[in-house]
């Protein structure tokens, strides 16, 4: 889906003056080239025969969802342990940085998608409490996940802290991120998805739904594994990912295949710039590059605004 406004915007420099200096036409050509590469990349994600990637395997589109569900059902109870093992504990810093970038306020309504066990939701509430002198105010987070097991773990965790599901500050909702059924249009101040979007079959639909539910002025934030551009570090990182992590999975959770899927899915995810283009495609605007690398690109925060 190409928005008419973005087409018009790209065509404007060509229309205004045929004799205009080269920089404008080069910029227009570059924009067209970028859009073509985005379209090509979106096409690569699902080809005409209705298949998509599941890690390095090719599977039918209809099957991916249940395969992903299977992965997460089997890792749900050990999810935090798995994260600590894979990232050496650094994932906690990434998630804290993510919430600090968001800088929520006591009146913020957050939709945290694929947030099953509630890591982000908890940090969100802690941040508000700290900034607001101990009170939560009207801050509310809706934790949305496709997997009931992950939601169960999350709701239990929150219940132990006195934050009941359906109470004034948190609610746990089951559903598909590509539809966001039950979430109204223009109802959320912010949308976060941490380490979840790479598991979705149709990333463009997820972004589109995010745009739908955000209020004008709302912020779309994605925390995900990115591409390490530094060649030396990327060699070390690849070695660690493919040689160490699946074995850790076997030792810690007796499930090598899920971990193999996880490291492969990171490689299939679009690059930082490609993902920014996808966001812009759906109508989000960005400040600056639109993304920020953490730990040399092992993780990246993307931020788009509905304005």
């Amino acid at each position: 889906m190409i928005r008419p406004s973005s087409l018009a915007a790209a065509a404007r420099p060509l229309l205004t003056s045929a004799a205009r200096a080269t920089p404008a036409t080069t910029a227009a050509a570059a924009a067209t080239a970028a859009r073509l590469s985005t379209t090509r990349m979106l096409r690569d994600q699902h080809d005409a025969s209705g298949t998509t990637h599941f890690g390095f395997r090719t599977v039918r589109e209809e099957d991916k969802e249940s395969l992903v569900r299977g992965v997460f059902s089997s890792v749900a109870d050990n999810y935090d342990l798995m994260n600590d093992a894979m990232s050496g504990g650094v994932h906690r810093c990434w998630k804290s940085a993510f919430i600090e970038r968001l800088a929520p306020a006591p009146d913020t309504r957050l939709l945290d998608v694929a947030g099953g066990t509630g890591d982000i939701a908890l940090r969100f509430l802690d941040y508000v409490r700290e900034q607001n002198g101990g009170a939560l105010g009207a801050a509310h987070v809706t934790v949305f996940d496709i997997n009931p097991e992950m939601l169960r773990v999350g709701a239990q965790r929150f219940s132990k802290l006195g934050l009941e599901n359906g109470g004034p500050h948190v609610s746990f909702v089951e559903g598909n991120a590509e539809e966001l059924a039950g979430i109204e249009d223009n109802s959320m101040d912010a949308y976060t998805i941490a380490f979840g979007i790479r598991n979705c079959t149709h990333i463009d639909r997820v972004i589109r739904q995010a745009y739908r539910v955000l209020k004008p002025g709302g912020r779309f934030m994605v925390l995900e594994f990115g591409k390490v551009n530094n060649p030396l570090l990327s060699t070390l990182y690849d070695a660690y990912s493919f040689r160490v992590i699946p074995h850790l999975g076997q030792i810690l959770a007796n499930d090598r295949d899920s971990y193999q899927y996880l490291v492969e899915s990171i490689r299939k995810f679009p690059t930082q710039q490609q993902f920014v283009d996808m966001m812009k495609h759906e109508g989000f605007q960005v400040v600056g590059q639109g993304y920020e690398d953490l730990t040399f690109g092992v993780a990246t925060i993307w931020s788009g605004w509905k304005l």
């Binding site: 101040d189 002025g217 605007q285």
Partner: protein
């Protein structure tokens, strides 16, 4: 009590809404960001140079308070808008000075003193909250930013005055003016005299001290130390000792 606060809040919002311009339809993100920061600057007398100012500005424009994420450096971005506006202000002041002088072009000294005073007058609405900004700018990560803008300011003033020096005078002139300006600005934060009379006297005294403002090769160190000691005093009064 609650009725009184909601009424006063409504009155403040109305006043602020009259001051700020609305964001036009179809504005792109950079324009929205600029307008947000301008509105935040107008709210500084109420909320000072803090992140809350930007959240309140967002709410005034009927956006969620998380819109303050457009300015990730927080209050520093508001200060940047103030600095940029300040440069525009002195350019206008210079144009007015030329219009008033007519045929007889004013000398360099006169231009520099006039522009320094104009820039300080620009600070009047924010001067009571300025110590908070100074505290922020004194932070080591913000020091390059602060020095960059101070340099821009004094460079602009000398440029408008017609300075054409090409030797070490270039540096000593700017350093001297930086010292005079910052020390007067810090003095101004505590000045309670009507119409800031004492500040203008202070400013003139500092210029006299620098003797020949046009061809200075004088004691840069003393003037900068003066500014630095004033700054130290302000920070100590806020509990930051070193």
């Amino acid at each position: 009590m609650r009725a009184a606060t909601t009424a006063s809040m409504a009155a403040r919002r109305l006043a602020a809404a009259r001051l700020m311009s609305t964001i036009p339809e179809g504005a792109n993100i950079n324009e929205i960001r600029q307008q947000l920061l301008r509105t935040a600057l107008q709210l500084v007398p109420e909320y000072s140079f803090t992140d809350k100012t930007i959240s309140e500005a967002a709410k005034l424009h009927e956006y969620p308070s998380t819109l303050r994420g457009l300015a990730p450096n927080g209050a520093r971005d508001v200060i940047e808008v103030l600095f940029e506006d300040g440069i525009e202000h002195i350019r206008q002041a210079h144009a007015e000075l030329l219009a008033v002088s007519g045929e007889k072009k004013p000398g360099m000294t006169k231009v520099v003193t006039h522009l320094s005073r104009a820039r300080l007058e620009y600070m009047i609405p924010y001067i009571r909250q300025w110590p908070d900004a100074v505290q922020l700018l004194a932070h080591p990560t913000n020091l390059p930013f602060a020095l960059h803008h101070l340099h821009k300011l004094v460079d602009e003033m000398w440029h408008l005055a017609g300075d054409k020096s090409f030797d070490t005078n270039y540096y000593s002139k700017r350093a001297l003016l930086a010292g005079v300006y910052t020390s007067t600005e810090l003095f101004m934060t505590k000045d309670q005299s009507p119409g800031f009379e004492q500040t203008w006297e202070f400013l003139n005294a500092r210029f006299r001290d620098t003797a020949k403002v046009g061809k200075a090769a004088s004691d840069v160190k003393t003037t900068l130390e003066w500014g630095a000691n004033n700054l130290k005093g302000i920070l100590m009064s806020r509990g930051i000792r070193f």
